[in-house]
Symmetry: C2
Subunit: 465 residues, 2 copies
């Protein structure tokens, strides 16, 4: 195997087969730092990619990060900070003075610099900005004037824009002549005299077209423009839908103000797609590096709401105390009916929330989706009801109980399928994030209907007498 392959091969000494830092490696670095051998720690870390150095900090316990940062000071360049988890970065940035932070931010593209500076306190932010060059400062201050999580925060100002009347040759000469263009770019934007984008040219087209051809003749006129105030989630969906590599960002008057590249969007796609899991569970950001007080607060709020909801379903059980006292077996079987409803409802909910998030479920197909889930629920309810009825009959030998058990399972399965669609769709229409709020409604309804249908049918059947 050649040397270049070895760098990424699985027998690389710092990384395991999944590209994660080996725990022995992390321990070796931290031990060297603790023993005061900063030199040794630096030698170990030096060969790492910036993304892996960032990971090293994330894997280091909070109380040892300052010492690690001090030991590795020379290696902590802008690229490492750009790759770091927000909370961990804040930790490490806290160990630096404003001058150092300003130097790091100056080396980065606007979007990465903004990511570092936006998390600072107002005081620190002012100090860092004051320590920066006026040009860099102005760019960052402008970016900070856009709402959080908007295209304006995500874009970089560094881009290549050329006038319509240029030729391919003009463009290549311009690029060769500009020493300052240190950033990577994949497309050139063509603008009109008012600096409004009129087309884009992929670099591969520039390279393959004779110098004399006018750029306006090879540019692609169909472009996807991103309004500067667009939410980053919408930006990500647009990049994904139209398979973009980069896109022009325009202000309200249509002027080109920045560029977003796909590598900045990949993180967002991953985060936005993954956060539904966390939201459905009521786990907030679910970042394992967030301060524990934030975690407790987020989760307690959700648990209290759920506690209230379960108390509601408990009160349904309370209505049937007489029947339960006479026939305590009801208390053993009733949680099965509500759990089945909860599980079935969660299945439907997960599918619907994903379909809403990816724009696959729209008003055009909601009715079809509802009917689809209704049919699935009937099948599933019948299957589970049969299994449950036979199982309970074999164990308990009470035909009436087993019949009531099966009927309430079928009923609750249908309820689960319907509310699993209706609740998130209704919340989405009301502009409430369905991933955050649906679960508690759906499980409360399936709990209440589960208890009520089972205990109610049992009462009608005379099981408690």
């Amino acid at each position: 195997m050649s040397e270049t392959e070895l760098r990424v091969a699985d027998d690389d000494s710092q990384l395991d087969a999944d590209d994660r830092l080996r725990p022995e490696f992390v321990d070796a670095v931290l031990d060297a730092v603790e023993a005061g051998h900063a030199e040794e720690a630096r030698a170990l870390v030096e060969p790492l990619h910036p993304a892996d150095i960032a990971d090293l900090f994330e894997l280091t316990p909070e109380d040892r990060r300052a010492a690690l940062a001090a030991a590795l000071a020379d290696l902590l360049d802008a690229d490492v900070f750009a790759e770091m988890n927000d909370y961990v970065r804040e930790d490490v940035i806290d160990t630096l003075d404003a001058r150092q932070v300003a130097d790091i931010a100056s080396e980065l593209d606007t979007d990465d610099a903004v990511a570092i500076i936006e998390d600072l306190d107002a005081d620190e932010q002012r100090e860092v900005l004051r320590a920066m060059e006026p040009d860099d400062r102005a760019a960052i201050e402008e970016a900070l004037s856009y709402p959080e999580e908007s295209a304006g925060r995500l874009m970089q100002r560094e881009l290549i824009a050329v006038p319509e009347h240029w030729t391919i040759g003009d463009t290549i000469d311009f690029l060769r002549g500009s020493e300052e263009l240190t950033t990577d770019f994949w497309e050139v934007f063509v603008v009109d005299p008012a600096h409004r984008p009129v087309g884009t040219v992929a670099l591969s087209w520039i390279l393959r077209t004779p110098r004399s051809v006018a750029i306006a003749d090879v540019m692609q006129r169909e472009q996807t423009l991103i309004p500067v105030d667009m939410d980053q989630e919408e930006v990500a969906l647009r990049f994904q839908k139209y398979a973009l590599i980069s896109a022009a960002v325009v202000d309200a008057s249509g002027r080109l103000v920045g560029m977003i590249t796909v590598d900045d969007v990949v993180h967002i796609i991953q985060e936005e797609a993954g956060e539904d899991t966390l939201k459905l569970a009521g786990a907030g950001d679910g970042d394992i590096n967030e301060p524990i007080a934030v975690t407790v607060r987020t989760r307690v709020a959700w648990l209290v709401v759920n506690l209230g909801a379960t108390m509601l379903s408990a009160s349904v059980v309370g209505l049937f105390q007489g029947e339960i006292a006479r026939f305590a077996l009801l208390a053993a079987l009733m949680p099965i009916v509500s759990a089945l409803g909860g599980n079935a409802g969660t299945q439907t909910l997960a599918v619907v929330v994903r379909a809403l998030a990816t724009n696959q479920l729209t008003s055009s197909n909601t009715a079809r989706m509802l009917f689809r889930e209704f049919r699935v629920a009937i099948f599933n309810g019948a299957a589970l009801g049969t299994v449950g009825a036979l199982g309970s009959y074999v164990i308990l030998g009470n035909a009436g109980l087993s019949t009531v058990f099966a009927l309430s399972m079928i009923f609750n399965s249908i309820v689960a399928g319907l509310v699993g669609v209706v609740v998130p769709v209704a919340l989405d229409k009301a502009n409430v994030d369905p991933a955050v709020s649906s679960a508690v409604f759906v499980t409360t309804i399936t709990d209440v209907m589960g208890f009520f249908s089972f205990l109610g049918l049992a009462t009608l059947w005379g099981l408690g007498h």
Copy 2:
């Protein structure tokens, strides 16, 4: 506003503010098709981006897709199929003959052609391949020889590779001279005589470097190579971690066999990140276009497993029938204790599953994570226990019952926090996907421990007497 902006602006007549096709537009097209006005339907659809035409088919009910495909035959080009959902594509492909499918596949890059052909039945596959040009066929047959969801399926063979001894000028001349290179590319790969990659050059570097410079002097030697048999999820993580635009794919002997570009990976990142939500809920692929029989089968399997698990916890309740018969209020409160545990466990589980999937939780920080969740669980358990105890005391006025209620909630919260970490981490170590199998273990444990601790403490306290 200029014309180009209007194409993507929110007042565009076919799309709503979220880039989704408006239901009125979908209806207008389908009505035209039904009325036999194919011409009118084509006129409506013609201005759409291929990704939106693909969406139109996804939003069309299954039984009307064939008629739509027939009416829009001229507009159904390769790009539309490349953007279409797998199940919907199969539907539409079924309406075409092998010759037509072969023509479409021939126009696509290998990866997109493979995506279409890999879903066909073996017979259809053979027929389509036979109808293709030998070159195209060979490329696709080779791709099909790699495992599903591997880099070999994902890569395209169309790429630019140049020898080390070339200059920038040689490279530009080569690109200008090659008429056939219709695909987009963003980097050029430099290979040694054995066709093994030794470096990459971003196109922006080629454009900005004088013609006389040797390519070996500007190429980036540090490259991230993708083994051809690597799983697509690993490929996606690697793209994300190292912010790649494209990457070389190498075979076992290190030779360059293909290229993966970020736009192909974006779909995977989105799918892989989103599928944890579906897996945790036991909803399988959760694709709203999958055949209903597949949906029923996937979900029933999960529900039956959960039914078994709830029967286990029901049997714990059964042990305390005597106490419940004497004091039926226990039956009303016990689901609250188990639900709290289930909710708290699911929160921890969601966080841990995300952290495992994004390589943030490794052996280096598992112990720290466990301790972190333990502390969160104590706080949350104490808070919820206090609220629950006060609430139940106000309503029921039984100090003993409220004490037992609070103690069992604290206990179950701690159990939930611990199993929420231990179960997914242990499954991950055993190479079982924690997103698929964790939930049933965690909720079963919190159910059993919830019922057992509450009813057990109630018995010890003598509440049933």
